[in-house]
Symmetry: C2
Subunit: 406 residues, 2 copies
């Protein structure tokens, strides 16, 4: 058993439950006498590079519970993708502090950074256990049924669409909600998690897995509008044309890219406004409204999935168990083994990093414009059903007396 | 005491608690033997015009409770502003059905429609009691401390900013949240309801009550950014320049107006994108994100203020008591008489309709770029404090060993 310090850092976009994982790791790590101290690095790998460590053993249990229930990333985050020079510096710092366990909570990119760091450590024969704790609202990590953070973001999207659908029903017209999702459509599909009846919105759903064709889109919208007098649409910000060019990049004056080469899709209403304008002008429908859910999806206070909270905590705890007892690198995965039950495993870092998981094909209908029952069955246990005790009037009609506007 | 039917309708934009008022009216009205039946008109005054009535006595108590907890407008809504011809037709329908009490749940415009209808009824000597039940997330009705619907929307905005502030802290840069509010800044000010410390966002708040100057805005942003390395901004969609021209109308290709002459401000990300672009280009800050909260603010499922729920129910109940016992027209008002306690009164329709209430001047600081303690004291009992059990790390620093990046 390795003796030394344990370090925790958070990378990539925050989520509503990422701090649960931090607290899960801290509380579990305290149980092992070979762990000399528990450190947190501020701003992910940047914190290691700059030796910006805090002593997580100095936090009260009560404060840890508050932090666990706070969205975003209490250890702060980073978009930095370390190159070889950066990794060598990181390794030097880890050695100086006798850090033997490093837990990096993040998505694809964070997992890949660990894989590269593991190669550097091997070169210098430094015994170091590297564990990737999954987190991403995009739900796009391979070998996982779902990832912590997704279910809470999904619940936000489900709650949002359940409400705006009723709002749209009250006033008519077209409503477009633009949902986060670069490559995978899981979060956009979650717009349907609380649908009860076919007439309930969203009536149309577009995900990045399928090429987006504006002509087909307008045809779909017209069909629903002609039938219901209204239409609620969920669309991923990452939708691309048949040449795989994001629709949004056609619109923006300047394109922001992070160090991982990802184009900025969020934080702008451009895609929603483009689709609105198309509907207004081509279909001649006047009341068209588009909202871009943006950052609220991943950090809104008070729309957290209970399942997500528990699993995010557990995945941190289990990561420590795997690391200390099995003494090997890996990424903790979550798999569904019952309805509803999960199990956790440790998978090799190179089986996760840099890969993207897409929605199963049978989660979308044949026309690729709505989700299937199978998709809703997948989502329901994750988002929970406690919020959907909604009702509507029986609509017992009163007989007309004047009956003048036939 | 008038004997006849009681009619309920909803007008204007939906809210999270408007259905509470409907159920409050129904349950109270059932207690009076002079009420022959309780009808609902579908789509506000349109439902009266078209004799689209439903029998609300045919709803189970259990379903009514579900409806009360459902956002938006279960009786559907309208933006129609009736003219004299329309009002005459409405009156004819009310007479044909022997409707003697009409409860219109809505904002400024709905209250004004009732005032006009009251004049028509007087001309024909038809005994009719008209009650305006207040509702507006804008909180802009005169003679009220606040209006049902506002507190829940305010809670959504407070929850959103509490979360995005931590998200922004984790990754840095500038975040702009565009909040609903045409003339009154109450909802935008609510972004600060859960602020604990000065360093917490939003750091800048702009409301429609004060002229918006883009140069001053950029100066404010630079000042905060230089100090904190980040900046969270709350801005009302209704901000205007010194000539009272909405900033957003300068941007949109086509301007939508409703029958009340209101310009469409929501359902587009244009204002947020303009402000982003200004910051990016003029201040040379790369990470700038803007979200427009849009329709989520008024209909999101699961972010409801408990105080708001209770008051929205009560204002409906009290309306029935005033109408039946006092037999006169009016608008039910809510006033704060303690911390925290309210009282309900019936005020003349012409004292409410067509008027706009603005934020008290002392709710904003001298520089007109943030709220005051007085504003937060006003908001806290409305939004409730149950959601702000958030935490952050004590940040006990670990001594650097290498200390290379001084």
């Amino acid at each position: 058993m390795l003796r030394g310090k344990l370090l925790i850092a958070q990378g990539g976009g925050p989520t509503a439950v990422i701090n649960q994982s931090v607290v899960g790791i801290i509380n579990e790590a305290k149980k092992y006498e070979n762990i000399e101290a528990i450190y947190g690095a501020l701003r992910g790998v940047e914190g290691i590079y700059n030796e910006d460590f805090i002593d997580l053993g100095f936090e009260s249990d009560s404060n840890l519970e508050k932090i666990a229930n706070t969205p975003a990333a209490a250890l702060l985050s980073t978009r930095v993708k370390p190159d070889t020079k950066y990794l060598k510096k990181i390794l030097k710092v880890l050695k100086a502090h006798n850090i033997r366990y490093f837990f990096y909570i993040g998505g694809n990119d964070s997992s890949d950074s660990l894989r590269l760091l593991s190669n550097e450590a091997k070169k210098t024969n430094y015994d170091l256990v590297l564990v990737h704790i999954p987190k991403t609202i995009d739900n796009d990590l391979v070998l996982n049924d779902h990832t912590p953070g997704f279910a809470s973001a999904a619940k936000f999207v489900a709650n949002a669409f359940c409400g705006v659908d009723k709002d749209n029903k009250a006033l008519g017209g077209i409503y477009i909600g633009v949902v986060m999702g670069r490559h995978a459509g899981f979060l956009t599909a979650s717009s349907c998690a609380y649908k009860k009846k076919d007439e309930d919105g969203p009536h149309l759903v577009y995900v990045p897995e399928n090429p987006f064709d504006i002509k087909e889109f307008l045809k779909d919208v017209k069909e629903v509008y002609d039938k219901l007098g209204r239409c609620v649409i969920a669309v991923s910000e990452g939708i691309c044309d048949k040449n795989n060019v994001p629709i949004i990049t056609k619109l923006m004056k300047s394109v922001d890219k992070d160090m991982h080469g990802n184009v900025q899709l969020s934080g702008t209403g451009a895609l929603g406004d483009l689709l609105s304008e198309e509907i207004k002008t081509k279909l001649n429908i006047s009341r068209v409204r588009a909202d871009t859910f943006g950052y609220l999806q991943r950090s809104f206070l008070g729309s957290v999935s209970k399942v997500d909270q528990k699993e995010a905590r557990e995945v941190g705890e289990m990561g420590v168990k795997f690391a200390i007892r099995d003494n090997k690198n890996g990424s903790v995965t979550i798999n569904r083994i019952g309805d509803y039950q999960v199990e956790y495993k440790l998978k090799p870092l190179d089986s996760i990093g840099g890969k993207t998981r897409y929605m199963p094909k049978d989660f979308m209908n044949k026309k690729k414009n709505n989700v299937t029952k199978k998709c809703i069955d997948y989502l329901r246990p994750l988002v929970g059903e406690e919020d959907i005790q909604t009702g509507e009037f029986y609509l017992r009609k009163v007989k007309k007396i004047l009956n003048e506007n036939k």
